[in-house]
Symmetry: C2
Subunit: 337 residues, 2 copies
């Protein structure tokens, strides 16, 4: 197999100079249409591909996004990152960006990795997942003037609108509100909520969606009695649902903060009650219960847009999730016209 063709070879073949070839690739509009076509034809004919490393050396941009591959989280929801990664990879590819993976054992270690990757000019932007209150990583990145976007909003008081911290998040509140309203619209009223213990921003938001919908429906009385909480495992979901069902014998449905909790509810209830989960994981599909889908494609799109984005463009984006209705959902009531 002979040497791969370079800009030089293409230039020779098309009877133009190196730079013109380069321009056809990077700034087509400044090249006269007929030359452009001739060069394109030569590129095609020779099967030329720009050498990524050479380009990166010259431009001093790696066009690569670093993302930490989390150690498998406990719950079933681990696959969200997986799907997000898939969407991100696909869309990044379309705009000429690559995804470089790395691992870390702690936030501090992750910061160490940031340094390594930046110093080696391996990446020129980061995507962070699973942000938490007082996250040292974002602070470090801001301090060191690195490009990044977080999937997950910052949970500090004022951080949400800090223009130095771009973020994309899913509007969990709206998602759970939708799910609850969907059940209300079908005539159910005693709708319980199984969530996470208070204090996690994400969890509180999701609970808030349920509260919103119940109150709007004039069912704001009994909300304390109708909710239970547990850590994000199937067992906790099952137990929480048990407690709830014991306290509210005429419970009509359960909305859960995650598919893990929802699966616990489903296992416990043996499909006697409609259950709605959150994340639309393969498990919800497999078990046939409804779930709120995070629309990770849109999240990925938002992340890339913010990474590229002009400084004056909005610095964050809230994606509205979508309720996916499955067989265990109660049948729809004919809509009012």
């Amino acid at each position: 197999m002979s040497r791969l063709p370079t800009v030089h070879d293409v230039a020779l073949a098309a009877g133009v100079s190196r730079q013109t070839v380069s321009n056809v690739l990077n700034a087509p509009d400044i090249v006269r249409p007929d030359t452009r076509e001739r060069v394109r034809e030569a590129i095609e004919r020779l099967g030329y591909r720009p050498h990524a490393s050479a380009r990166r050396l010259r431009t001093q941009k790696s066009s690569t996004i670093g993302i930490r591959l989390d150690p498998m989280v406990d719950g079933i929801s681990g696959s969200i990152l997986d799907r997000f990664l898939h969407a991100l990879t696909e869309q990044a590819d379309a705009v000429g960006l690559r995804i470089l993976l790395f691992t870390a054992t702690s936030p501090e270690d992750e910061i160490r990795q940031f340094g390594r990757l930046i110093d080696g000019s391996d990446v020129d932007a980061f995507v962070l997942t699973s942000t938490f209150h007082g996250d040292p990583r974002t602070e470090w990145l801001i301090e060191h003037a690195q490009r990044f976007v977080t999937f997950g909003r910052p949970w500090g008081i004022d951080d949400m609108n800090d223009p130095r911290h771009p973020w994309v998040d899913v509007d969990g509140r709206a998602g759970v509100r939708d799910a609850t309203e969907s059940l209300l619209r079908r005539g159910l009223q005693r709708i319980g909520f199984v969530g996470w213990p208070g204090g996690s921003g994400t969890g509180d938001e999701r609970r808030g969606g349920w509260v919103d919908a119940m109150q709007a429906a004039g069912l704001g009385e009994d909300l304390d009695r109708l909710q239970e909480a547990g850590v994000d495992t199937v067992a906790a979901g099952r137990d929480a649902t048990s407690r709830l069902a014991a306290r509210v014998p005429d419970l009509e449905a359960v909305v859960a903060a995650s598919d893990s909790l929802a699966l616990g509810a489903v296992v416990r209830e043996q499909a006697a009650l409609p259950v709605v989960g959150f994340d639309n994981t393969p498990v919800s599909a497999a078990m046939g219960f409804s779930s709120v889908d995070q629309r990770l494609g849109e999240v990925a799109e938002g992340v890339l847009a913010l990474l590229e984005g002009a400084p004056d463009a909005p610095r964050h984006r809230l994606v509205t999730p979508e309720l996916v209705i499955r067989s265990s959902h109660p049948p729809a009531v004919p809509d009012e016209p």
Copy 2:
């Protein structure tokens, strides 16, 4: 922030030439110990990191492994790739290799991507997952003299020992045999198997492990009656278990070819029977049933070893999985001394 230091800066600081700095990094043994130390000190002091792209341009090696990120598979088992990826990333990093992700919509598309990545000198080796009978991808890679390793053995007749096709796989047969023997050792005898429909190499191997163990225990009579099959979903697992239980009322345990099928069995049986799955996914942990762990760390290690491996080293590796026993397993019988 000022410009990052280069070999030149380090050379100046240490009072040597560029090349000596380069040698300290790439061939330390040809540099005199005291010079070496002086250069190392300068590197440390300046915080120098070699520029990855420059190095790759010069050496014409990308030190990057391409791996396709599968579109989320249906079942729960999607997380295997996830965990494999994690192990691979971690270990690759340790030997100076990077992992580059890409996506593809079909094997043909994947082959197109191979071409793209090779032509752009983005990667110099591939890791393939989910190999299947008559896989066109491996053929293409062999044809085009590309370095690669598959996770999953080739299923063609003679391919297994083809030295041009290096592979690492998990010995599913041994895993299921172990699982079955573990139940036999605890005194159970009527152990059913819920597998995939015949014809998939992996599935047939796993079934084989169950057959092996049963026959070795002198229970080879009724094997046809004791097995059922279904596609790899929770629902299929539930239904297959139902059929099995209907036919074999005194069924004592179920061994399944996957955690998806196993979950179906668990849901159906409500923990009345011990169930053993395969893959040790988070779901098995969450639901508390035993499962066979693929030891993805060892698989990753094997993959990297084969990628680097000398041509005369063994061209494939079979990893023995490990049974993870959980609460739903029957209590151990005191071992014979």
